[in-house]
């Protein structure tokens, strides 16, 4: 079992500074949330595939496969936003008894559904291409995070597979005690009965890890040195700037094509005015 979803490789995207990369990706995600048009999140989604394909040798198909479980959530969100659309609108395109469906609602709903896919796509790309050790190093070295806090992330990282195994063991162990056969309390009860053993064993291990960290001098000096260095290189600046420029150009192009209408809420009113 792998520690997380990081896929070791040596590509442009893997070599990028993790903080620079998250800044650039956040920029794409943010852009996708600023507009209510379908075109924007769709463009950003396609862009994520292009980035993954050209800069990290990740085939769009692989990304799509990883996105498929999220599709249901995206579709659900689309339906919800379509049904309960309350913004400016023209005549309904469909009436199902008391429920009306508007063109604007369908558009906005699809846009929000695509937005979630867009967030997921960049998140997956990020986790697949980011070495956790370098991520923490760059959080300290570039994002100026206090190092003791940053190491909580590494501890968290170490604990993910350990606790995943523990959780599986606890589920099995309690199944043997026929916990699943008893009806009382249902969900709430089960959360408590899994959580306590999981947390207790996690906390015991945390305690031992903390002592081991102290024993190796963690936190004895206000400043420490770093074996893994993550300096910002030309490529990092170039990628960050290129990302912002790409976002801007893309939005401009979509605007020229007449595909942009709804910037946040305010512009939605323009739609109302236009009808």
């Amino acid at each position: 079992m792998s520690v997380s979803l990081y896929q070791e490789n040596d590509t442009f995207l893997h070599r990028l500074n993790p903080v620079a990369k998250i800044a650039a990706f956040s920029c794409f995600i943010l852009a996708s949330t600023l507009y209510l048009d379908v075109a924007v999140p769709f463009a950003m989604l396609v862009l994520s595939w292009l980035i993954g394909w050209s800069l990290a040798h990740i085939s769009p198909l692989a990304l799509l496969r990883r996105l498929s479980p999220i599709l249901a959530a995206a579709v659900g969100l689309t339906i919800f936003n379509t049904l309960f659309y309350g913004g400016p609108r023209g005549d309904p395109i469909l009436a199902l008894g008391p429920i009306y469906i508007w063109r604007e609602g369908l558009e906005v709903g699809s846009s929000i559904g695509l937005r979630i896919l867009c967030v997921a796509s960049y998140s997956i790309l990020y986790v697949w291409t980011t070495d956790p050790g370098r991520l923490v190093a760059s959080l300290i070295q570039q994002a100026r995070m206090p190092y003791r806090l940053a190491y909580a992330i590494l501890a968290a990282y170490r604990f993910v597979p350990i606790l995943q195994r523990e959780l599986a063991n606890i589920q099995a162990a309690q199944q043997v005690r026929a916990v699943h056969l008893r009806g009382h309390g249902g969900l709430f009860r089960r959360i408590v009965s899994y959580s306590i053993p999981l947390l207790v064993s996690g906390i015991r291990q945390a305690e031992r890890l903390a002592i081991a960290m102290d024993a190796r001098g963690f936190g004895t000096l206000p400043e420490r040195t770093y074996y893994v260095r993550t300096p910002l290189r030309l490529a990092d600046y170039a990628f960050s700037i290129a990302s912002i420029v790409a976002c801007g150009l893309l939005l401009l192009a979509l605007g020229e094509l007449g595909l942009l209408h709804g910037f946040l809420i305010g512009v939605a009113e323009r739609v109302a005015g236009a009808q």
Partner: protein, 592 residues
Amino acid sequence: MTAEYGIRVNALRFRYMDSPTPVLNSVDMEIRPGETVLLLGRSGCGKSTLALCLDGLIPHEIPGDFDGEVWIGPYMTLHTSPDRLRQVVGIVFQDPEAQLVMPRVDEEVAFGLENLAFPATAMPARIGNALALVGLSEKAKAWVETLSGGQKQRLALAAVLAMQPSVLILDEPTANLDPSATLAFYRTMEHLRHSTKATTLLIEHRIDATLPLVDRVVVMGEDGRVITAGSPREIYAASDAALQREGVWVPSSCRLAAALRSIGWPLEGCPLTIAEMEQVIRSSLVLHAGAGASLPIGTAADTSHQALSGHPDEAISVEGVSFAYPDGTVALRDVHLHVPRGSFFALVGANGSGKTTLAKILTGLLPARNGKISILGQEVTSRNRSQISRWVGYVFQNPEHQFVAERVSDELAYSLDSQLEAMERQRRIEKLLAQFGLSDERGSNPFSLSQGQKRRLSIATMVAMEQPILILDEPTFGQDYRSAQEVMSVIRSLQQAGTTIVCITHDMQLVADYAQEVAVIEQGQVTFQGSPRALFRQPELLERAGLDLPPLAVLGARLGLEGLYTVEDWLLWASAYAPIVDKAHYCRTQGW
């Protein structure tokens, strides 16, 4: 290497914050520079606390009442800055999962150096050296998570060695490892003794492998004091029975020597290792039976193992079962297994060989992919799989995973049939509490019990469900001699009452002492099933499976004797050997 420092402890007392009683009570101890000392004592007697005091984590990081003096060479820990102490003392802990911080091997070794602001440019050389010392050079860029338990422990050792400490403390470094990984760890240690001169304090339960490495032994009692100290020979010659009472493991050779002496065998000295024991037996034979005397042949009758033939029916039968995890890892391949009803059945194999997967299939926690499983003559199908828990109880390796209640008595009540009327229910709980020695703990929180108590409680919760078959995963894991004995005697009495026991273990002496039938699993395949005796005749099979012969069987093999695996076997053998042993005396001591 850095300067050689010894350790001196004067009148050390320590009480943890929130704890009513002190753990350490006026400990005095001295370790000379370059010496290797083994610290013994039962679990919970304060060994680990003493280790933390020597390391300086107490009193610097862990709060409590600290009194007395600890000197590491010229440094008194109380008045020395933590960063200085960290350079002088290094410590390796027991749990391979909970002492490594970084995602990759080389980063892990760098962690300590970084904390002490070691210049980054000088790190690669130190890291390279340290990894070479423990034989992990090829793994420098590997993910820590992909290492085996044994490799993780050697990595923890490398991470400490990179800081070039003068004093090295090892707190049960092999307690969580299987036999072959333990052996590899101590090979590394032996190699290190020649290449570094660090003063070493070693805490260990399993001492057969470690005694040859140590110069002196220090024994701590339950009251948090040092009871005795001296060379291994002095310690074990003087008081091995007393040590066993203290809950301290005694080398198998000493245990055997004491037993043989008790039936009148005139043994000289105190053999600490199997090799020494071999010499002692040979020379006593030469001495008493004349130079040309041949060794008596092992003819020990196979007493316990014939009882089985009376129960031809099977508790569990497995025919051609395979299993693969969803990620494609094949865990079991065409497994065949037959567990006789009423037997004590041992399932042995290295870590990761598939023992636990098989146990999970037998308890219905995992579905078998193909093949056929029958339990008590009934075939298990997908329809009745969830019912298996009525027939098979499963005691997990970590007892805490099975706890669901906040009081010991509620934990037992949970296991009882909810149809029982209140009086009967209470009576059963009381009986279980008494049977498992937990009567004084009925109101305690299960998580707050001692290791041995937790283990007994987890067995009790399973026994309460009254299944005819009980599977136990490593029941003596990480326990001291006394609690291991207590747990095993409970299990044996369950077997005598008719429960079929399936015990997963890699403790081969346990197999020799208790099991009637044993199966070896190696990389998902059962490579052997039969009696322990038949297994011990195939040491190459054991070695391939990452296991080892029990120490007393090794002794027999060295002497060219077959069939002598337990102390009882040896006593029988000795009693049959007239020239030396006074038979009448033997019969008296055995109560015949």
